[in-house]
Amino acid sequence: MTAPIFTLLCLLVMLGNALAEPTYRIFVTNENDNTVSVIDSRSHKVEATVPVGKRPRGIGFAPDRAHVYVALGDENAIGVIDTRTLQVVKTIPSGSDPEAFAVHTNGHIYLSNEDDNKASVLDPVSGELLAQIPVGIEPEGVGVSPDGKLVLVTSESTSMVHVITVPEHQITANILVGARPREVAFSADGRWVYVSSEISGEVNKLDMAARTVVKKVKLEIKDAKPKGVVLSPDQRTLYVSTGRANVVAVLDADTLALKTSVPVGKRVWGLALSRDGSRLYTCNGVDDTVSVVDTATHKAIATIAVGGGPWGVIIDD
């Protein structure tokens, strides 16, 4: 009786060691001053400001979260920061003007080359550029389906979502959405995709089985420029940043009905949710701050000063 329990305990300890304790750090790209701000999510204090390279915008974790990747638009490269030591460990050429990206579970980075009408596939370990896929004009938002079989890329000046298969890297559909599509978010089951459209002021909901727009709403918020879009872990609530409207729109993910809006800072852009969905972090690009929103009360509970022009945010929790 005791032997199996002992074995189980040993296995649990080993598993615990393998799954490293999260750092609880929030990482924020500061587009205007070429740095990444590192915030302790428990104290809301800035721990470090890491010079990373020119025009940092898109930001994301490696699958094991050991590294943070940062798109450096004016260096045509991806900067790599060690999540624990906060050192920039390398800079990988990425093709022209990388803006946003998504990291596939296989470790490859799918990124948009904004000024080159391409999406690139980068292996950050070997540094090899594995593929370049011609897409529309000003490619931006990138998303990987939960099963890893599809990558979506928006092209802002072609108002389209391109559906790309993995590993073939073939475009199998081009879905016209509202003007200037910025970001995409998949539902956990991969069935639905939410797209923010900055100029049309819309959120479009795509059915990935039919590959069509099944619902779209214009945000009924004055001056709203939808940009960031994240889905709550329970899949019921969609948070959309609204740029110069300075609020986060809270939508019913099923109907896209506007439930409420949460005032944050000026030109709210990138968004990130804590793993449990209780905290939403917002980049306020003109205020040079990050707001912390309590998603139960829909109120900003803290404002943290960061670098110039905060653009994107992720959390290791």
Partner: protein, 274 residues
């Protein structure tokens, strides 16, 4: 058996050729007629617009051809095939004539270069104006001067150093293609083709009257100036303007604090009623 195999060896090549034919045939050719100088800013803007329309068309099944014609070739003659739209960088007198020549068949005629208010107030059903009217520019300057008394400024549709929104990207594309800065006229030319290609991609029709209807009623155009652009009943494109002082962009109109920044109709005359 051997002969059969030899024949099969050719099959993939034949199939590939056939496929090329089919995909080539699937892309519908869209003919846009351009009347105006085949050099200079407006023309360069049209050329960039055509290039970008063809990138969009690659995904939605169109190729865009711009055919240069003289006004005499269009006026008082029946064309064998109708163009999807007519783009005109001509004098003010020619524009109503072009409009009249195509009004009955519903072909949109774009004014790319004139700022005359009288052309807007004529409210011709198929005449659309991409550059701001003189009155729009005057209103923008007046708004700015309300806030900054005595400032000597001008209002422009575009500026090669404008970077906000995605202006930086458009300016970069233009400069890379032509090695000259993108100005007001170039923006007007670019915008027209861009709007037309979007109308065709979204409606999946090249029927001129349906393109015109989409442009007037449904379009929400991203002119890379931060808000969507639509057409007024007068045919004038609603758009924000840039306030320029000593050659530099110092602000945008509608001017914050003087007008509602979202109220593009605070610039110029919005309706056909005098």
């Amino acid at each position: 058996m051997r002969r059969g195999q030899r024949w099969l060896w050719w099959l993939p090549a034949v199939l590939l050729l056939a496929l090329g034919e089919v995909t080539g045939a699937m892309a519908e050719e869209v003919r846009v007629v351009y009347v105006g100088p085949a050099e200079g800013s407006v023309w360069r803007g049209v050329a960039l617009g055509q290039h970008e329309a063809n990138i969009l068309g690659r995904f939605t099944g169109q190729t865009y051809v711009v055919q240069q014609m003289r006004p005499e070739e269009l006026l008082g003659k029946e064309l064998a095939t109708l163009p999807a739209v007519v783009l005109a960088a001509t004098d003010a007198e020619t524009l109503p004539k072009l409009s009249a020549a195509f009004a009955s068949v519903g072909v949109a005629v774009f004014n790319l270069a004139r700022d005359d208010d009288s052309l807007r107030q004529a409210c011709l059903p198929n005449l659309l104006h991409t550059p701001p009217s003189a009155r729009m520019k005057a209103d923008a300057v007046a708004q700015w001067q309300k806030k900054h008394a005595g400032a000597a400024v001008e209002a422009w549709a575009w500026h090669p150093d404008f970077v906000k929104y995605a202006a930086r990207d458009l300016n970069k594309r233009f400069r890379e293609l032509f090695n000259v800065p993108m100005d007001n006229d170039a923006w007007a030319g670019w915008a027209a083709l861009k709007m037309v290609s979007e109308a065709i991609a979204r409606t999946q029709t090249t029927e001129p009257a349906r393109i015109l209807a989409y442009l007037r009623q449904d379009m929400e155009f991203d002119g890379q100036k931060g808000v969507s652009h639509t057409f007024r009943d007068t045919g004038q494109l609603r758009q924000p303007l840039l306030i320029v002082q000593d050659g530099k962009v110092v602000g945008e109109a509608p001017v914050r604090g003087v007008a509602d920044i979202a109220d593009l109709d605070s610039l110029g005359m919005e309706s056909c009623r005098r």
